[in-house]
Symmetry: D2
Subunit: 387 residues, 4 copies
């Protein structure tokens, strides 16, 4: 659709680091690829340093900039606030934005504590009554291969799920000389590998299976307990985990294992998910993100085997909006797909997914992992998860 005959949706971005750059690219690109009912318009970028914010706005395609996210709340041209700051500020910004009647997209992890997440979920529920929408940014749900995995599970293609094994392996902290950053500070980041990347595999598991994690037995560890300070001589204490392992059970009765590590040498971004059901199996690795492996156990033994589906066909989720078959997508396309879905939901007056309730569910699992790990691996039920 052309720009003239559509209602616009004014977007404001808070934060302009890694995630801000990814979201800017998505907002800048989405209207060229998707047939959207409303036209998103990047109107403002907020950052604490006015000069840096202005520079970022110019480079990333935002029409204006402000030095305080609060200045966005009463602007009429802002319909949606997209939160790309560290986790400890999410609750305050999101709740204020929802109260001000702005739709909210909030990066993951949604919060640093269950209490914050509960407050956010409550605010989102109330806002929805007033037609104000919210979404948490588990962008991997919009990787076409994972979206296809969910569809195949929902279609019953793998039957009842008996096993999930989910790992997320990176290695950027393998070197003990890697400096201490805010991500290694429990007060800023909440936790380490657990919340940073473990949150992704919990959400991906719940998304693809359509089930909840109902309990866990966990083990956390920190291999490098001191790291060089980033801004001068000396070392400081690492107060978060390097690695998190936990066993879990799904609401449908299946067994699951999870591992998140930032010291797994040679693995760069290996979010791997494997599901074994009574009728088939699925396997995925984010390092080869355009592929989904599917075994159909109902097929005869002569030709049964894991097949590599190149998830780039027009019939696959999202890919029809992009390039011809076989022309793969990259990391950033998931964000563009995400904001497309968000705009479509807002225009349709529907709640987008994943909701803040979904974000809260993940937060509760993260919390149970820490409780179990502190209690010698004792099985710990997830509050509110239906067994």
């Amino acid at each position: 659709m052309t720009s003239t005959d559509r209602r616009t949706l004014g977007i404001a971005l808070v934060g302009h680091a890694f995630m801000g750059r990814a979201h800017s690219h998505a907002w800048r690109s989405v209207d060229a690829f998707f047939d959207l009912p409303w036209r998103p318009v990047p109107v403002a970028l907020a950052g604490r340093d006015a000069g840096k914010a202005a520079t970022a706005a110019g480079r990333l395609g935002w029409a204006s900039s402000v030095d305080d996210w609060r200045k966005l709340l009463d602007r009429d041209d802002v319909d949606l606030i997209d939160i790309c700051t560290p986790g400890d500020s999410h609750a305050e910004i999101a709740i204020a934005a929802l109260d001000a009647g702005k739709h909210v997209l909030c990066e993951k992890p949604m919060a640093n504590t269950v209490a914050e997440a509960e407050a956010m979920a409550a605010a989102a529920e109330q806002a929805a009554v007033r037609g104000v929408r919210s979404m948490v940014g588990f962008s991997y749900r919009r990787v076409p291969a994972l979206a296809l995995a969910r569809n195949l599970v929902a279609q019953g293609r793998i039957g009842a799920i008996r096993h999930v094994r989910a790992v997320y392996l990176q290695d950027w902290l393998a070197d003990p000389g890697a400096p201490l950053s805010w991500r290694l500070d429990r007060r800023r980041a909440g936790s380490g590998a657990l919340g940073d990347i473990g949150a992704h595999i919990i959400d991906a598991t719940q998304f693809v299976t359509g089930e909840a994690v109902t309990g866990v037995s966990a083990l956390l560890d920190t291999f490098v307990t001191e790291r060089p300070l980033p801004d001068g001589p000396g070392h400081g204490a690492v107060t978060v985990d390097d690695a998190a392992l936990f066993l879990g059970r799904l609401s449908g009765g299946g067994l699951a294992s999870f591992e998140a590590s930032r010291v797994a040498t040679g693995r760069k971004n290996a979010l791997r998910l494997e599901l074994n059901g009574t009728h088939g199996s699925l396997a995925f690795d984010l390092e080869a993100m355009n592929e989904l492996w599917f075994h159909d156990h109902t097929e005869g033994p002569q030709t049964a085997g894991f097949r590599r589906i190149l998830v780039t066909e027009p019939e696959h989720p999202y890919t029809g909006a992009w390039w011809p078959a076989g022309h793969g997508l990259g990391y950033d396309h998931a964000f563009t797909n995400e904001v497309a879905d968000l705009v479509i939901a807002i225009a349709a007056g529907k709640d987008p997914s994943p909701s803040f309730a979904d974000g809260l569910a993940v937060q509760r699992v993260l919390d149970a992992v820490e409780v179990s790990a502190a209690d010698a691996g004792r099985w710990t039920a997830i509050a509110g998860a239906q067994p």
Copy 2:
């Protein structure tokens, strides 16, 4: 750099189908990811249907539109013309643009005949004297894994090249019911799989090896000789090849084999390149475009083997401009990388690569393939290629 302190480069696009959409995305995105000396500004889009051109301009991010590419030639705000039309119009537009002092980016295949390509290369050479630059759009040169392959060859990591095997396999014409399109008409497309995708593997081979193909022995075939007309009942004749196979020799003495097919069932975009040199080997498959496989033959047998390099490190070509290690790129990123290099070359007053001379070299190989195939596979030397 911010927008205020940089010279701008006005860009105009001709054509707004598949390639026009890809190029628009690149021009719209490049300044957010790369530190460019000049700031590209998408000023105008040209298309024969004024209404469609205006709609496309709005959606794809161009400030204005015109209904004839000739109207771009004397506009002061246009510094570069980006040609995304079918091959039979490339020569006319490119030569006119260069004559008008506009830099040119021309999609591949650069031309439909050697004569056209020679005229274009001559025009480009003359324009370069006046500081007007030209580039042919073999975008795969900017896939990081292929760029890394070239670097490793240039560093001598695989030694003298003895073997290249290059295939480009697709399957969108496997079904005899797929309709007759302009791509199956020799007058519009020049040739079939040969020029469409065979051109890519010729250029990729010459780019990665740094050598020229000096002769070929070829075989062409068309499996489906009639196809349904797209706009009504009845069938029409297919006048191009479905598949092209040829053996070749490189200027350094190595042997090469090439195969391009659009009827290879199950292969969607399988541009595969494998090189065996005296000191090592490389392998690449565009269906897994973030990976390069490298065997170091100088290593001892205990641990030697093909290693899968995930070409996403900051030290790899182009990837430092994008996302953290392990976060892969997709099809479109190659175009963004391409226009970044083009802007940098123009600002530096240097000739970008691949040049129109490179495009001509590919065209001469395509021509020799057709000559050889028509003469029972007889060895046919490539005009101008140094043995």
Copy 3:
């Protein structure tokens, strides 16, 4: 060496089912491929049914047969007794054989209980004083790729081990219609997936790392609790686990996760082992048993990546005895390699490996897994494992 100038070693086999067939092939083949100091001679096969034993002896290459393993104990032509019966008979036969001065090769799992395993280990220790040797048949230690993995770890190529993830996935019990067999009866088999295939990944982990598992937190489950009786109508209760998952810690401080399942649809024999150390990583999958993947983290980022080592070079463990490079081995070759090592150790007057003490160590981990699983996943230390 020729047959005339070498001392012989008389071999007797107990059992002639799956494992007996594999061991027979090994004993029949080993002298043709390895340069052995002594010549093994297959002299007798024992089986409870005299007729079946005689038939099996003829077919599998044994010179004679007996209907009771006890008849082997005082035969002068029997130097070694190879035990291939179900686990509940291992302790009795092995201890009697050792007491009779016969060397013993005992299939895994070495025993059904820790008490049996302790008795066997004690008997083996006493026998060794008298020059009588014993070995437990964890044949996967002799898969060349796993033996190479151990060598690389021992050489320090991956540094200190931080992570092990070990799974063994099969699917032959995924179908609820698969009949009840002795392997599903706790009294005969000891446990289910845990002892059958979980034992392999425990041993493989301890072998490759050279470290001990010091504690576990576990979860067991049985998905199909009743199965058809094999010999008539009706169903019987399954009294063992279908799947076993456990987290563990290694004596060097690393973290490990384990999963054994016989209901993982599409996975046929997927013993997968991945290790991440401070200097590198290794990965293996028994379904592609001739390959070992190695990442050298000390290499620069330009070319670092997991390399696929085809473990078939003359320089690799065992493979020099077989075929030229690139000509892979299969499942049975590990048994031939195993008995070669056993004969060499006996001739050299040395204790072969893995010892009955190694078998006991695995049994203690299996036991701790059951204790932990019965106590809500509580962390359970392994008796005797050095932290």
Copy 4:
């Protein structure tokens, strides 16, 4: 079946190097795994050096040895002669053996010239009338995955074949310091990579497709023209090819490309075969010999993809005789499968496959490749191949 109630088949082996060792293992093992109608008995081994032959016989399991293959011809206990000598002696031995009424198994390449191969095929045809059988040892036909590939083609699962690409890549001659051996001497070996490994991909193509290669366009080259003498100082001339590339056409109209090289660094035994048909595709790599990749093009796009069939199921060719699903076979198992089929055919009074006529067909393709390469790649029809 037991040894007492079956007719025996006396086997004699000529040659005891690499192939002799592989065949001995097969003859020694086959009766333990396959239910054979007749019982093969290894009665004699022939080698020119009496001492070496005796030693080899002892080690490889042959009951006796002779110093001249001619001494086997009138022995009543010899029913079959298995020829494992270099190619230049095949014709003489095979024809003499057939004339003497002995069944013959002859290693590949069947002969060094078309004339020899024609004489052998004629002798085999005449012998068959008298119930004397002959087989040429293209053992890869008995790799289960390739046998399954043939079955799927024969079942029509990939439809009409449009493309075959077949390569056989090794690297043991990449090093110019590798010594001159008889395999590099045209008089002994006939040709280089072409006959040694190119013969395998020609036969595999004709076997799997069920079609004949009807013509070729070829290119041969020798990169290392002099090599060190094996037995002293100095160098000698290499008189065979290092690499052979050729394009071909199949009797069903499909296109094929072939490449054989012994200088392809990093590739150890990469016999790769890929077929694209109108209804599907198949891919195989001997370096992962237990896997066959199959794409079913009749399936919908949601889940279509190349599936990795682990060819180890009881329902797959040959594998039911061996181990449980997922337990892979190695290089030598193909020989055991081969002699099983041979014994079964002889007992059934049927001609085994591949016949000497099949061996001749391969020889004619090899010959046409050399003719075409010597004539600038000119298309050269294969004598006797039906277009």
